[in-house]
Symmetry: C2
Subunit: 341 residues, 2 copies
């Protein structure tokens, strides 16, 4: 049996769908008796008395949408928890959409959430995305938008990010302090700002510590386990091998670790390794991975607060886009122990 | 600026909201000229010309909703990929809702998805849930519902599960074949059917292999790392310690492994260990974890196919609920190597 529509109710009452629609929307032109009949019939027919009709009227659904590249990256799962904590405390439900790192799916995500009548959208941009007009569509429709982590500033929307430059600087300097001298970097796609910032932090930390920046030691990966393994194997074939690696994120670091383990060199004590993101697995692998924590819960909470302020804010107060930058935290574990002498 | 509603359009055109609604819904009682004016004005005002209005008419949104206990459990992330593959190939978008293992949030998930006008719902039940009438609400509203993995049959809806009994039987028998004799089981809450089935499989595999089922060796955990560690410590304090453990799922196994590592006994070679679920981390921990793979991608694909068949099916054909049972696969890694002599 197909779902009940306002036409079914209209037919049952021998009236028009427009009258049913007005009655359900509590329109003043409809008599109270008709409204009662419509409501009773709607109930009998299991009509989906949802927020749609009322949201057509009020423009509020009490639902916010979140677009993430992948639910399988625990970083995003953890940010979502922060978002949900704040949202639920204020009576909002949260719907999620995965872009799977694809531009087309991200576009569909925006459309699907707008069509679901969410009150606002929080998003982190897919790896593949280089055009951003779908985000502007949300703005055009006066649906507030907040970007987190993988954000760009040109869109004129509020953002919540961590200081990726600083995190990378801390990670690289930590390896220097542990006694490593030929520190390689497996970078990410540099069109994505956070990855570019991490590269900058790495370069500046080396320079500040009077170490040569050797371009042979900078390789570009695709932010995945497989890519980390490939790029590490490439580094291991250099005549002057690195004695440590700063990987752009933890999946890349995990792949690099696998490559190191497959050679005669074994972690820890041979090649120092630091990742970025503090993924769930990072504490459990051997050696446990030194990495940079991104304050995910706080990131989610801040993003949700910005969004809810925008949703409930005073329409007459035009506020400038805000940019919240969180401080990263170095989490020191076994993979960056000082090198054996 | 608040979102544009049909009342804004009506005001701008000096007409009624009902007329605007009818015009947007292409109602025959409205003149073509009026429809054009409404559409032009709606566009000027950035009215959210979404599927809501048309879905009020047709009852179709081309969106399906998925309720999962947690996006941070990679098992669910992997099932979602299977669901999305099938859904996207047939033009459907997928919205996700996390219950965070909470009954109340699961109830809100059903409401939120119904209010978002999804065409159907796929769900896996939260640990906390013991009442199921919220799922019946979906059925009552003629929104097809499919349950996967954590499913119950009493609701009269189609389900996709793996044979948990068989998986547990295989896991336990594997430990017996490797040479272990005092095999403990860290079970899950037994009101959840899949966990009860795993307990049954464990008991029957021991009996079939002529090993005594020692009730001291069966402890009940809460399906988490912390709980796995606690229950393992409890087992390690027995006068007659187990020589192996079958954990109800991989997070529990990971906690048990941590507890074992903290004692004088060290994996592998002292206490055999098998988990269940083949979580993402299971391959990367040391020792790598022997576990039971749940065919997650196939599970997602089958669930999506059942749901889309129900959504697009012939309304006159009343079909009985289907039950698809997938075969589990044992993934043998280092944690179950034969015991040292």
């Amino acid at each position: 049996m197909p779902r009940t529509t306002i036409h079914d109710i209209a037919k049952a009452l021998n009236t028009s769908a427009a009258t049913v629609s007005r009655a359900l929307n509590d329109h003043p032109s409809i008599s109270e008796a008709t409204k009662v009949m419509v409501r009773v019939t709607a109930k009998q027919l299991n009509y989906q008395q949802n927020r749609m009709a009322s949201s057509l009227r009020s423009g509020k659904s009490m639902v916010i949408g979140v677009i993430i590249p992948s639910a399988e990256i625990s970083f995003f799962g953890s940010v979502i928890h922060g978002i949900e904590e704040v949202a639920k405390a204020r009576g909002y439900n949260v719907l999620l959409f995965q872009s799977n790192e694809r531009y087309q799916q991200e576009v569909q995500g925006i459309q699907t959430l707008l069509q679901s009548n969410v009150d606002g959208i929080i998003a982190s941009i897919a790896k593949e995305t280089t055009h951003y007009s779908h985000f502007l569509e949300a703005k055009r429709r006066n649906t507030p938008l907040i970007l987190f982590d993988r954000a760009i500033e040109d869109l004129g929307v509020s953002t919540v990010v961590i200081d990726d430059y600083k995190g990378a600087y801390m990670a690289t300097e930590h390896l220097v302090e542990q006694g490593y001298r030929r520190i390689a970097h497996i970078a990410g796609p540099s069109h994505i700002k956070i990855f570019h910032e991490r590269l900058r932090g790495y370069v500046d930390a080396l320079s500040a510590n009077k170490l040569v920046v050797d371009e042979d030691l900078i390789v570009y990966g695709k932010v995945s386990i497989d890519s980390g393994r490939e790029r590490m194997n490439q580094l291991l074939q250099l005549d002057l091998m690195p004695d440590a690696v700063f990987a752009v994120e933890d999946f890349t670091a995990l792949g690099a670790l696998q490559a190191i383990k497959e050679t005669e060199f074994h972690q820890p004590g041979q090649i120092g390794l630091v990742g970025f993101a503090n993924e769930a697995f990072s504490a459990y692998i051997t050696p446990s991975l030194t990495t940079v924590d991104q304050q995910t819960n706080i990131m989610g909470r801040e993003a949700a607060q910005l969004l809810l302020n925008a949703i409930t804010g005073n329409a007459n107060t035009e506020t400038l886009p805000q940019k919240i930058v969180l401080d990263p935290k170095l989490v020191v574990r076994d993979s960056s122990r000082p090198p054996d002498q």
